[in-house]
């Protein structure tokens, strides 16, 4: 292995930072979902990298579980966005303020 663990962890930190930027700046609901996806992928990269370097099979197993749960989360999130779009005719989260209680 020519690549070391620190390289993968630093890429993961960069992706996490980009995801946090997207979550805090963007007001488009679909773009916020993109940011959540990027953060989840950074976490999966960390899991697999640490599992490779320890080495232990638990990292890959946990990454597979995480990918499957992320698929479920995206399905529910997108259908919630579609419902909110149908109610407000917009995907700007500033318009979703009435969604309380």
């Amino acid at each position: 292995m020519t690549n070391e663990l620190i390289d993968f962890v630093l890429v993961s930190v960069a992706l996490l930072g980009i995801g946090i930027y997207g979550l805090s700046v963007k007001r488009n609901a679909i773009r916020m979902l993109f940011a959540v996806e990027i953060i989840i992928n950074a976490a999966n990269l960390n899991l697999v990298a640490f599992g490779r370097f320890l080495p232990h099979s638990g990292g890959q197993t946990l990454a597979l579980f995480s990918i499957a749960i992320a698929a479920a989360e995206v399905a529910v999130g997108l259908s919630l966005i579609i419902v909110a779009y149908r109610m407000y005719q917009n995907i700007d989260i500033a318009d979703f303020r009435n969604l309380k209680g």
Partner: protein, 170 residues
């Protein structure tokens, strides 16, 4: 030290992650998100875990990105291209991102992670299958139930009640 393939993959991954958030059109943004997810699959291949890489390609690039593309196409045309954000908030967001990256990066660079290297062979994917069916079987069943429940819930949520009696005549 990192080799050339790693550097190319990280440039593709991080660049398309920025592009996914900053592209004007949501359609191009979701295609750039596909680039990020594919780049992560490449990292998994570099880490000697081809099974997770194939799973990532099948689930993320194959289904989630396509699902996002179809949702984007359901939205009105002018909303796809509209970009609402104020400048001050953007600067604060960039500052937050930089602070986060520098702080976490310096913590990690000063920790013991830097010295970890390995010469041991990679984990065989047959071990993962054995793990799934022996130690993790309750979690596997629970995951299947969660996936079924959430997909059914998504279908029920996105259903339209107002076209129920609208039978097509032709």
């Amino acid at each position: 030290m990192a080799d050339a393939i790693f550097l190319a993959l990280s440039v593709i991954t991080i660049g398309s992650a920025i592009a996914a958030l900053e592209m004007r059109s949501l359609i191009y943004g979701s295609i750039a998100l596909m680039g990020t997810l594919g780049g992560i699959a490449g990292f998994f291949l570099l880490l000697d875990s081809p099974f997770v890489a194939m799973f990532q390609l099948a689930v993320y690039v194959g289904s989630i990105a396509v699902l996002i593309l179809f949702t984007v196409m359901l939205v009105k045309r002018e909303l796809i291209f509209k970009k609402v954000e104020d400048k001050r908030r953007k600067f604060v967001g960039i500052a937050l991102m930089l602070v986060f990256m520098v702080a976490l990066g310096s913590i990690i660079m000063n920790s013991g992670i830097k010295t970890i290297t390995t010469d041991e062979p990679a984990v065989d994917f047959r071990n993962i299958g054995a793990d799934f069916l022996t130690y993790y079987w309750p979690a596997l069943i629970l995951m299947a139930l969660i996936l079924t429940g959430s997909v059914t819930g998504a279908l029920i949520l996105a259903r339209r009640e107002d076209v129920e009696n609208d039978q097509r005549t032709d």
